[in-house]
Every structure is written in structure tokens, then in C-alpha cells.
Symmetry: C2
Subunit: 512 residues, 2 copies
């Protein structure tokens, strides 16, 4: 769609390595001149529209969706190499994922890798907003400024120096607010964001042990604390972000109150005992435990103490929670509220939706349950009948409590009924909050926070029932598998004599 031959001069406009050892990083926030050039370059250009995937079925390919438009933005401003290098990092660090979007990379954990309390680094979900910078650890530097007593620059070595800052290890579940978005899309299409609102399933969530230093300690020991004007901490990442024809570095913020109150706003360089992978923000990222993943800024190289929330588009214009009646016709940045702490939610991982389960009167289910903001999961309940009767998961069948992490659960559910059943799960957290009942109960234009009870359809075949056992035996003796469910049975289902006997005993019409 874009004729790059017309913009050869852009190839030298911006450095691919804006500082030595910082590949794929371009400074935008401190360079309004560069932003102006990009604005002019993008103006009036035609880009490939994002594919329509909400009103039509999703492609069954992997990658599921292709980020042509964002690749073209990079191409036009001469930064195509960011695209290519990012994909190389994906192939190296995230080979075994459901690739929802190839660029900026969005990858979902496969279900089989969600069944461990800690998610392997190579399987942990990724939701990036731009390319992956490749920053040399030794060249890395973090700058802290704004309403602090002392502005500082800290190398990674400084940060890791335990004589300067006490370190923490925290078990944290990070969740994209798009988790289970597919359920909202399937009910009603919503916001088609410029950066595709990826159609996540249950795997936009993962748990890891992060090691780093609490931001409050850095602010205290390195900066002498914040000034009274400081209400928010802005985090700026080295990645390049486009929004409505403008270019930015990724920027978000968290309130000072949140940073101050807990040890769990970390500057982290380690994930599950390994150096933080590049695709997860290495060498340094913020981990804002309990918050939406978007605030855990990756490749963070600047922190600003501000009086107001960040004006970066991710903070100001996105991750907003609208009423269900606000939409394309009337949404503004100020009529949605900002998603920060995550609500209580859960998911069934097994069985999969729309599967046939042949059983003896008991069906096993497994899944995750999580609540943000420092609340923890108290109880998980599963219903075999669409939400009428609820069975509680036993304490032994839940992984241990954390302030900032999920609990995995499993249950053996007594199931008598056959045919299509609807299972659903709901979780109660330590605030006694639980989940909305239906997707519609919390549907919103930006398709965020699908916190409603997760529902799956299972076709139950209870072979402890004589008629079913008999049918299964008839199939087995003929060598016919039960699946696929919709494949018709080719043999007569009932002996003619039996049928006639039944017809005579229970006639079709009344006798009189």
C-alpha cells in the first residue's frame, strides 16, 4: 500500500540506534522536531486498513493477524529494521505461542502451558505496542526526573547494587486487560483500534517471580524522595508507538500513592530466575503488581514524577472503560475511566469449549482465578448447569495464596446429565467481589476486562447410563468412533419390532 520509493530520504532521518548499544530505540518524547517530521510523513498517506475480524470468523493461521499497517508506519519513517529485528526476537524467545499479531507482537500462551503456577518465560504471554529494542545491558541507563528532590541517572549496575537498594522477589500475575476479549467480540464487535485490539482467549495472563528493586526505594535513596507536587509516576519505554498519525515513545503512569503503598511496584531485571527476556522488556521493566499489564512499562529508560497522569496516548486515550452504551458515535477520552487495578476474574482451561466428554458421571475441570489490586482469590465455584448450582473448589485443589498472583484450581464435578451442558466458573476475592454473570453484563466498547463468568459448552456422554453404554457398545462393535459428534450414524438406531412395540404402548395420538 505504501510506495517506499517515494520516501528514500527518510531512510537516514532517524537513527536505528539512538544511543550506542541501544538498537531499535529512537527518542521521540524529547524531540518534538522529529515528531513533527513524522506527522508530516504520515499525513495523507494511505495505509493498509486493519483486517475486519470482528464481524467475520478469525483466520485459522498462525500468526492469526498481520500488522501490515504498523509495519508500513515504520517503513515510511525509515525504521523497517525495527519490524524485522522484532520478529527475529519473537522466533528466538517465543517460538511456541499462539501468535495473535505478528507486529507489534502479541502472543498468547497455549492452554497446556497455563497449568503450572509459574509460567515459563518462553510461554508467558506478550502484548507489545511497538517493536522490540535490543539494548546492551552495560550501556543501559535509567533517568529519573520531574518532581523529585534530585534528578538522577542510574546504570543497571547501580540498580543491582544491594548496598544502595534493597531487592525484592515478588510472585506476580500480569494480565492484559484484553484477556478473554474474544468472548466480547463474539457477542458484539467493538472498537477497532489502530493497533489491532487482539482477539485474546484465556491465555493473555501469566505468572512469574520477578526480581528487582522497589521503585519507592529508588525514589527515596537515589532521588531523596519526591516533591509534594508528585502525584503520578510516568514510565517511558524505549519502544516506538504510533497513534492517529503521531509518533511517541511508550508512556504510562501509576499514582504515587500506589508506588508508595506497596513494595510491588518493581524495577525488575529478572524473571523466574533468568535475566529478563528482551521481549518482556529486558534489560529493565516496571512491574506494577495488581494493575493492568499495560502499566508495567517495558524497556523503561525514563521515569518522570508528575502532578497529573501521563499524557501519553496509552494512558490518556486507551485502556479506558466505557459504559456499554458509549461507542464510536460518542466516545471521548474523558468519558471512559482508566483501567488500573484489575477486577476478579477466572477461566476454565479444560475441557475446551465445544468438546465431547465421555465420562462415568464425573467431569474434571481446571483453570485459573485471579484478582488484582492486592486482593487475593478466596473461593472458586464451578457450575455444571449454566450458573444455577455452584460447586466450590476444595482448598487442597487451589494453589497457594499470593497478594499479587493467581490461584490455579481443579475440580471433579458430578455430572449426571447428557447432551450439551454449559459449565461456568466464578471467583470470590478477599473483598467478597465476584464476577458479572454474562458477557453482556460488562461488555464495553473498548472490549477490555472480560471479567464475566467464563462459560464453556461441553457435550456430555455419561456412559454410566444404560442406554448410552449400549449405544457406545454398538459403535465399538462396528468400529465406528463417537466423534465427530455431527457425523450421522449409518446403522438403524432401533429394531423395527421394538419401535412398533413402543408405538403401540405409547401411541402417537390420543385414542379418544
Amino acid at each position: 500500500m505504501v510506495d517506499t520509493a517515494n520516501t528514500p530520504s527518510t531512510l537516514q532521518l532517524f537513527p536505528y540506534e539512538d544511543r550506542p548499544g541501544w538498537k531499535g530505540y529512537v527518542e521521540w518524547e524529547a524531540r518534538p522536531d522529529r515528531k513533527e517530521i513524522v506527522r508530516e510523513l504520515l499525513k495523507g498517506k494511505e495505509f493498509t486498513p486493519d483486517p475486519e475480524f470482528q464481524f467475520v470468523p478469525l483466520p485459522t493461521t498462525n500468526p492469526v493477524l498481520i500488522g501490515d499497517r504498523w509495519k508500513e508506519y515504520h517503513e515510511v519513517v525509515g525504521l523497517r529494521s525495527i519490524v524485522d529485528v522484532s520478529w527475529e526476537v519473537v522466533q528466538k524467545e517465543k517460538a511456541d505461542m499462539i501468535h495473535l499479531l505478528d507486529f507489534p507482537y502479541n502472543g498468547e500462551t497455549k492452554r497446556e502451558h497455563l497449568l503450572e503456577k509459574l509460567t515459563d518465560n518462553k510461554h508467558h504471554f506478550v502484548r507489545n505496542h511497538g517493536g522490540v529494542p535490543d539494548i546492551d545491558e552495560d550501556a543501559f541507563e535509567l533517568e529519573i526526573g520531574g518532581f523529585v528532590h534530585r534528578s538522577v541517572k542510574l546504570s543497571l549496575k547501580d540498580l543491582k547494587d544491594e548496598t544502595k537498594f534493597p531487592q525484592s522477589e515478588v510472585t506476580v500475575t500480569i494480565q492484559c486487560s484484553g484477556t478473554r476479549r474474544i468472548e466480547q467480540i463474539q457477542q458484539y464487535p467493538g472498537e477497532g483500534d489502530d493497533l489491532i485490539n487482539a482477539p485474546w482467549g484465556e491465555g493473555a495472563i501469566g505468572t512469574a517471580v520477578y526480581r528487582g528493586v522497589p521503585l519507592k526505594k529508588v525514589l527515596k535513596h537515589a532521588c531523596g524522595g519526591v516533591l509534594p507536587e508528585c502525584e503520578h509516576l510516568e514510565f517511558i519505554g524505549a519502544d516506538t508507538y504510533f497513534k492517529k498519525g503521531e509518533v511517541y515513545n511508550y508512556a504510562v503512569s501509576a499514582p504515587w500513592r500506589k508506588v508508595r503503598a506497596s513494595e510491588e511496584v518493581l524495577l525488575a531485571w529478572e524473571m523466574n530466575g533468568e535475566p529478563l527476556p528482551k521481549i518482556h522488556g529486558g534489560p529493565l521493566r516496571v512491574v506494577v503488581a495488581g494493575y493492568i499489564g499495560a502499566r508495567s512499562c517495558k524497556w523503561v529508560y525514563k521515569i518522570n514524577a508528575l502532578a497529573e497522569p501521563s499524557m501519553g496516548p496509552v494512558q490518556q486515550q486507551e485502556y479506558l472503560y466505557y459504559t456499554s452504551q458509549i461507542g464510536k458515535q460518542n466516545h471521548k477520552f474523558s468519558n471512559g475511566f482508566s483501567i488500573q487495578d484489575m477486577p476478579v476474574s477466572s477461566a476454565i482451561l479444560y475441557p475446551l469449549d465445544k468438546t465431547v466428554v465421555i465420562h462415568d458421571g464425573v467431569i474434571n475441570l481446571r483453570g485459573w482465578a485471579y484478582s488484582g489490586g492486592g486482593c487475593w482469590v478466596e473461593r472458586v465455584e464451578v457450575s455444571p448447569d449454566g450458573g444455577h448450582v455452584w460447586y466450590a473448589v476444595q482448598p487442597d485443589d487451589l494453589t497457594e495464596k499470593h497478594y499479587y498472583a493467581w490461584r490455579l484450581w481443579k475440580i471433579e464435578l458430578p455430572v449426571d446429565a447428557e447432551g450439551w451442558l454449559e459449565f461456568c466458573v466464578r471467583t470470590w476475592d478477599s473483598h467478597c467481589n465476584t464476577e458479572p454473570t454474562f458477557v453482556r453484563s460488562a461488555w464495553n466498547w473498548d472490549l477490555h476486562v472480560t471479567s464475566s463468568c467464563h462459560r464453556i459448552k461441553v457435550y456430555s456422554v455419561n456412559k454410566s447410563k444404560p442406554a448410552t453404554a449400549q449405544r457406545l457398545q454398538a459403535l465399538e462393535s462396528r468400529g465406528i468412533p463417537f466423534m465427530p459428534l455431527t457425523k450421522p450414524l449409518e446403522f438403524p438406531l432401533e429394531d423395527t419390532q421394538d419401535y412398533l412395540a413402543s408405538l403401540r404402548k405409547y401411541p402417537r395420538e390420543p385414542k379418544n
Copy 2:
């Protein structure tokens, strides 16, 4: 899948024209020898499986589905010409349809042709179970036997002789019990019948004026009445039907009580003032008003007065209503009840599902409402909120009452809310029956009789609201269409000063 070269001898086995002037008719019911040959020919052969369309999205082609398997059955027994001739009839008589299945032909009326009280012959839906026989009117003969005082053979000329039989004209809605089946499939896949359970929408229904002679009059005047043993009248059609490796002529039955009680079991040769089209059963079909369409046997050439319902597979093994928990694992012919009289049901034809409607506070809806068994539609109600508040259609906005036909309706619905709304319709008939609330309320394995409230999703844009009017104006001034809904807006949605003013007036976090 079938190597026809291996079965050349079958090419002469069965006549394509079993009686002079009866093309495409083969007698099976009186010829057990022929049935035995077919059973042997089909045994052990591999046929193309029916396509899986319930667990995956439907093809967007027209024809939607291809009846390879049934074509192969015909090919193996040397009757491929039936397939080809049928498709020629479709192209001649039904060019402008949604072709759900090419063979046996299943065609759905397009919505725009459902808005007239009488459905044009060329647009009336068709659900055939076999090929279309091409029978010369002058050669045609109807045989009546079984428990009658006198067995007779009647030419079409005899039947049309008003000195022998009084004629009737009746306005009749014929409905396939598969109407709106797609809604059941979308919720839960079900029976994959050998003859594809076509994924009908709202258009497997149509209304016509049929002219013919009431069957009861023929039985009385031609046969001297039925014998006391007679409880059911079996209708046999000239079409060829396959079921589980066996071959039949199409056969169904209706109770004698139904035939005797009403004038509306007709032997009909005229449809909407025109000779009955071939594809609708010409030269002669049965019209069993108020019943499922399957009983209105086409190309009827034999009527048997029986003590019990027909043992034909369509009557015995199909069109059975199972409980929602009965399915592949346990269904038998005798544990479903036979669908004869149709229940009350309705559909919204406009707007279409998942459309954006830009309006001034009022949305217009149109649709049909029907009840079988001689009940008529008394009231139609439409809800703008998923079934909480119901607005009744005014009497002037309903077409006139008939004992055996639908009423079309329209309504101007006051709609304030914006965003995704769910409209639904329910109908009350003269027995005070109304419709189940949700698809799940009446889902059944054979996917018949989707009589639950029909629901559509509409994205409401109410331009009588100032914020919406302003947004639409902003779009217009930039030459940007509102549709597609999911296409993101590329301009800033809110002035930065307005945003900041709002942020300061309504701060993100509490002050204390």
C-alpha cells in the same frame, strides 16, 4: 469418492422413466427386489462425508452446501440423470434463491421476498428430500388403497372434475421445521443427518393460495369412505429417498382425524393461481395445512389408508422432537415425538442481525408471525431490550388473520439507548401460547422447530443526542463514513484542553 467405472452394470438396472411420461420416477415401495439390489450396491461403499458446517463457519458461497454424498448414491444405482435434471429445474424455477443445498434441493427465500403476504412461487422456499420428478400431467394417476371401501385410480382430470369433487382454495403457510435452525446450530451443534440438516435462517417459510380438492371429499366420493381400521393416511411421493443404505419413495402420513376434521388437507394442483411448479410437487401434492411442511407430500401418486403411522423413514425416523439431553449417545426413533402441528413462532426480518442503525429515536422493524394447527396469530410483541419491555404491534400493522397462514407485522419502536441493543419478538396465538424465551429453552438434537423468541443485535446510533450529532458532523466534515463500525477513527476524539479540564474536574483518583 465413488468409482462409477466399477458399477457399469447398474446403468440399466432401474428405469429413469418407470411409467411413460413419468421421468425421474422409480418405483421402490412396490418393488422389494429393487430395494435389495440397491442395498447390496451401497453396502461397504465409501461416499464423500457430508461437510462439517456446524462446528465451523458456513461457506459464503451459493450454493452454500454441496450434496456430494447424495449425488453419489444416485450415481452408484445408475440414476445420475435425476441429479442433473433436478438442477435444471432449480435453475428454471428457483434462480433467485439462497441455495442452501444443491441436491436434494434446499432453497431459502431471500428476506426481501418475504415482505409480501403471499410469497411468489419463484421465491417460495423449497425443502426437497430427493430429485425432482418430471411427470406429464396427462399421464399422471393417483392411486388410493388400504383401509378404504373401494381402491381407486384417479387421473388429474378426474380430480379436477368439479361434478365429482368440490374444490377449495386455501391460504396456507408452509414452514419447514428447520426454520431458523441456524440459531440452534450457532449455540450447539446437533444431528448431522445423512441428508444434510440444512442451516436455514428465517426464510424456510412461505405463504400461498393453494387450489385443489379436500382429501376427505375424495375418500368419501371416490372410495366410499374409509374402513374402521383406518387411523392414518399415508402419502407416497414419486421422488427417490435414501436412508442409512436403503432406498425408498418418499412416504409420510397424517392422522385420519386431521384429514376428516378439516377441509385443509388438500390434494392441490394450483399455487397462487398458477399450475403447481414442478419443484413444489407438480402436478399434484398434498397440502396438510397447519402441519410441518414435510407432511405435505409432493408428487403424491399413492395414498394408503393405514391403521398406524407410515413406516417410511421420514415419518418414523425423522422430524422427531427429542429432549435437549437426548442425542447421538442415546436417541432412538421411539424416544422422540413426531412433529406434526407447528407451534407459534415469529421472526424479525428487518433490520438484519448485527447492523448499525442511525436513527432519530425510532427504529422500524418488520417480520412474520405464525402458528400451526389451525391456531392464528393474535398478538405480536417486540422488545428493544432483550426481552424486558415488550411493545405490542398495532392491529393495523398486522396483515389479516387466517386459520392456516402467517401474519406479517411492522412496528415503529421508540429507541433511546445507543450501542449494541438486542431486539426480540414474541407472538401469542389464539390458544394463548407464546414462544420460549431463549434458543436453549427449546434446543433439541435434531435441530427442529426453533420456536424461541427471535433475537437480533442492532448497533443503535441515536442522532437526536447532542454528543452523537456532534460526532456524526465531525465525520461528515472530514468525509469519513460511520461504517464499518470497527474501523477506528483516525482523528483525535477530544481536544487536549477539554480533556485536561475534565480530568481536573473529575480526577482519576480520590483526593484523600
